[in-house]
């Protein structure tokens, strides 16, 4: 076989393998979507679509949006808004505080800077699971249990954010630029807002997304901190759906779709920033 043919064959084989793997990855999504449209009786009938007399042997008319409407009746709309609120609030405040602190630690000179940097970056070693129990106790004593503040406040000061932004500032913000701005009479705040922030735009976008995702998918914190059903986000609400007397599969499927769709959309819009933000830490290491 000529090398030309060989490489064509190997490329086809490659594509075949990739297609197979991609199918395996995508199959659950398809199953999820279709199952969320099935009624209770139909759930066990076919693997994907319920068999019937319609086009392609599928009973198209037995597909239903009932599961989704049932979700609304069960208060899932509220859970969705809660998720959006918690995730976006956490993202905004965590990003802003981390950016400010990261910038200061990177560029400002003051006594105690080294110590503070060490403490903050050193805390990255602490596994979050160690803090679960004492944080709960702290929130109890502060009277913040079952409160939105109790859930959100601890997320506003992530050391990881400071780590990322300090690095981003060091890489993207030249000292000379800051000095020049100062000479021109710009205030410190002005320097931060007008000079620095634009230069670290990619990191801001990436970190917003990271924090948003993190809070959206956070399960253990709201589970522990929040008690009222009206405050619970999708992550907790969906887990509770699972533990009822008889599992309503279609409902659970629809709930999953609802919980995943917003994030998927967000990501599709912002994917480049996300991936670049993620990998900047590792590869430049």
């Amino acid at each position: 076989m000529s090398s030309e043919r060989r490489s064509k064959v190997s490329r086809s084989v490659t594509h075949l393998i990739l297609l197979l793997l991609a199918t395996i990855v995508l199959l659950p999504y398809a199953w999820l979507l279709v199952a969320s449209l099935k009624s209770r009786e139909d759930f066990f009938s076919g693997m994907f679509f319920p068999p019937g007399d319609g086009f392609l042997g599928i009973a198209w008319d037995s597909l239903t949006l009932n599961n989704y409407t049932n979700l609304l009746d069960m208060g899932f709309g509220r859970a969705a808004i809660n998720s959006i609120f918690y995730a976006s609030t956490s993202a905004v405040f965590a990003t802003f505080l981390s950016a400010a602190t990261g910038y200061v630690l990177a560029k400002s000179k003051f006594r105690g800077r080294t110590l503070m940097t060490l403490v903050v970056l050193g805390s990255l070693i602490v596994p979050p699971t160690l803090l679960i129990a004492p944080s709960y106790e702290l929130l109890y004593h502060l009277g913040l249990l079952d409160s939105v503040w109790g859930l959100l406040l601890p997320t506003f000061a992530p050391a990881f954010g400071v780590f990322l932004f300090r690095q981003a500032v060091q890489q993207s913000v030249p000292d000379e630029l800051i000095e020049a701005a100062r000479i021109d009479g710009c205030s410190e705040i002005g320097i931060f807002m007008v000079i620095v922030m634009p230069l670290i735009r990619p990191m801001i976008g990436a970190f917003l997304l990271i924090t948003f995702l993190g809070m959206w998918n956070n399960f253990i914190s709201p589970q522990i901190v929040l008690q009222s059903a009206s405050k619970q986000p999708l992550s907790v609400a969906i887990a509770q759906l699972r533990g009822v007397y008889r599992t309503d599969y279609g409902l659970l499927m629809a709930a999953t779709v609802v919980s995943v769709a917003p994030v998927a959309v967000l990501f599709l819009v912002l994917q480049k920033q996300f991936i670049s933000g993620l990998t900047s830490g590792a590869v430049k290491g």
């Binding site: 490329r11 199952a35 400010a100 160690l130 702290l138 000061a157 992550s235």
Partner: protein
């Protein structure tokens, strides 16, 4: 005060950092210190505490359920490591080939489970591995036309494989991205030189690609281990809060949660947390040592 006064800069620096510092001290430093004291107490809810000294740790050492949790977590961690990472690396290699069409689409597809998030993937996984109606059994039965496969009770008899499979689906794409980025940073001139020297693809892989990818690989391995050792949401949602028959699906953090928030003993939970922290800090220190060693060798 003149704008150029260094004092003003310092004032700004502190002012800018204060919100972060306050929150950091309250919600990170204080709980960290407190966790040490908590571990010396037994509690029944945060209101009721009694000092017990080192008793929690003594009990922990003799606690068969705790050791079962450690064993499970380690099996899961190593299983994931040795299955997930080679797969991720292999995928990255395949996707890295120069003339591959649709690379970014494939990349997105493999990465997409990460977007769903651990919690929702766990819910989906629980449904997919259900006995009769689940996707997995249905597919297996369809492929092999063996209807008895529908009855495989994953969540009763094969908990660990189920956990590993689900996390495979979830994390392979994630790790692949790291490897892909690393591969794209491999010095092409080195590769070309090797090719000219007559090195075949396997040789090139072994002597050029792998060494230059090693730092990222180390990072990914450690990240993966740290994440795996803290596994909680997946088994918790899959098994609905308990460890499954014979505690087969009990992980360390799950045991921490059960003790702290179902039995109310935050002290014992803190002790479990410290045991885990020691394992993780040990790992982190190993990473730092390895990175230092790499740098020293260069």
């Amino acid at each position: 005060m003149s704008l150029r006064s260094p004092d003003r800069r310092v004032v700004f620096a502190w002012a800018a950092m204060t919100p972060f510092i306050v929150l950091f001290v309250v919600f990170m430093v204080y709980p960290l210190i407190q966790s040490a004291f908590l571990a010396l107490n037994q509690t029944y809810g945060p209101e009721t505490q009694i000092f017990v000294g080192t008793k929690n740790f003594e009990l922990l050492i003799e606690d068969p359920v705790f050791w079962k949790a450690i064993r499970n977590t380690l099996i899961y961690t190593l299983g994931s490591l040795f299955i997930q990472l080679p797969l991720a690396f292999g995928l990255a290699l395949v996707l890295n080939s120069r003339r591959l069409r649709g690379r970014s689409i494939y990349r997105l597809i493999f990465f997409s489970p990460q977007l769903m998030g651990l919690v929702f993937v766990s819910v989906l996984g629980a449904l997919a591995f259900e006995k009769r109606a689940g996707l997995v059994n249905r597919t297996l039965a369809w492929i092999t036309t063996d209807a008895s496969l529908l009855e495989i009770d994953w969540l009763q008899s094969y908990i660990m494989p189920t956990l590993i499979l689900i996390s495979l689906w979830l994390y392979v794409g994630f790790n692949m991205i790291y490897f892909l980025a690393a591969l794209q940073n491999v010095d092409n001139s080195l590769l070309e030189a090797a090719e000219i020297d007559g090195a075949g693809p396997l040789n090139r892989l072994q002597h050029v690609i792998i060494p230059s990818v090693r730092p990222v690989a180390t990072f990914v391995v450690l990240l993966s281990m740290i994440g795996s050792l803290q596994l909680f949401e997946l088994p918790y949602i899959l098994l609905q809060g308990n460890g499954g028959p014979n505690n087969q699906g009990l992980t360390i953090v799950m045991y921490l949660y059960q003790n702290g928030f179902e039995l109310g003993d935050l002290g014992y939970a803190s002790a479990v947390g410290w045991a885990l922290a020691l394992m993780l800090i040990g790992l982190a220190l190993i990473q730092i040592w390895m990175v230092r060693r790499e740098e020293a060798m260069r």
